[in-house]
């Protein structure tokens, strides 16, 4: 079913609001060993790296591995947020949403 121009405008406005909210968010990931936590912003840029207090006991390559793993998890979290929005957008444009 095609949306009316007014409904399409409302959907576009709603999607723009959600995209802005998503871009303003922070997305976190951790490595499995719990050595590193990385946060990226809505554009995927790194904004914070937190390391365990015990990090000085580890070699550089182990720290690097932990950070890369945590960053990948943070990027995955961001990607999932965009995928959820894309799925929601599909519902909205199909007119299936209650909102």
């Amino acid at each position: 079913m095609a949306l009316t121009p007014d409904a399409a405008g409302a959907v576009i406005g709603e999607l723009n609001r959600r995209i802005e909210a998503l871009r303003a968010g922070r997305y976190e990931g951790r490595d499995q060993a719990g050595l590193a936590t990385v946060k990226v912003d809505g554009d995927g840029l790194v904004c914070e790296v937190k390391l365990s207090q015990s990090i000085s006991r580890y070699r550089s390559d182990a720290v690097s591995k932990a950070v890369r793993e945590a960053l990948l998890a943070a990027q995955t979290s961001l990607t999932q947020a965009y995928e959820s929005l894309a799925a929601e957008a599909e519902k909205l444009t199909a007119g299936d949403s209650d909102g």
Binding site: A36, L45, V49, L51, R59, S60, V63, L72
Partner: protein, 136 residues
């Protein structure tokens, strides 16, 4: 007196001329649209290839090297030996975060510049025509 016939002929000729111009313009837009679509496909292919190209960033003191792509993949994060012992955890985390962000910004800048350079003139020309027609 054949004045009405002259007027009729002139009107017909004018209508034919308008139709000819309209056909030519339609053909020209068709050609531009087709060429632009082909060029955009090439740009999309370039974008994918450029997003996978590896960029290297190195800190001024040489202690941190990051190899990454504009697409977001961190291929390597090399920390100088003993860095975890040289800094406290907060200081090391801050240094790594700054390094990763700087490397990401460098990769994106190089990607954008390379992509801009890869856009064919015909696409830029079409963008200009669309802007001028007020349909952007």
């Amino acid at each position: 007196m054949d004045e009405p016939e002259d007027l009729m002929r002139a009107t017909t000729e004018m209508a034919d001329e308008y139709q000819r111009i309209a056909r030519e313009e339609a053909a020209e837009w068709e050609r531009i649209s087709r060429e632009t679509a082909e060029a955009m496909e090439q740009v999309a292919e370039s974008a994918q290839r450029l997003a996978e190209q590896e960029v290297t960033w190195k800190s001024e003191d040489g202690r941190i090297t990051v190899r990454l792509t504009a697409g977001g993949a961190i291929n390597a994060l090399d920390l100088a030996p003993a860095m975890p012992q040289r800094y406290d955890s907060a200081g090391l985390g801050k240094r790594i975060a700054e390094a990763l962000r700087a490397a990401q910004l460098k990769a994106r800048k190089e990607f954008n510049e390379a992509l801009e350079a890869s856009i064919p003139e015909r696409v830029k020309e079409t963008e200009r025509l669309i802007r001028e027609s007020g349909h952007d």
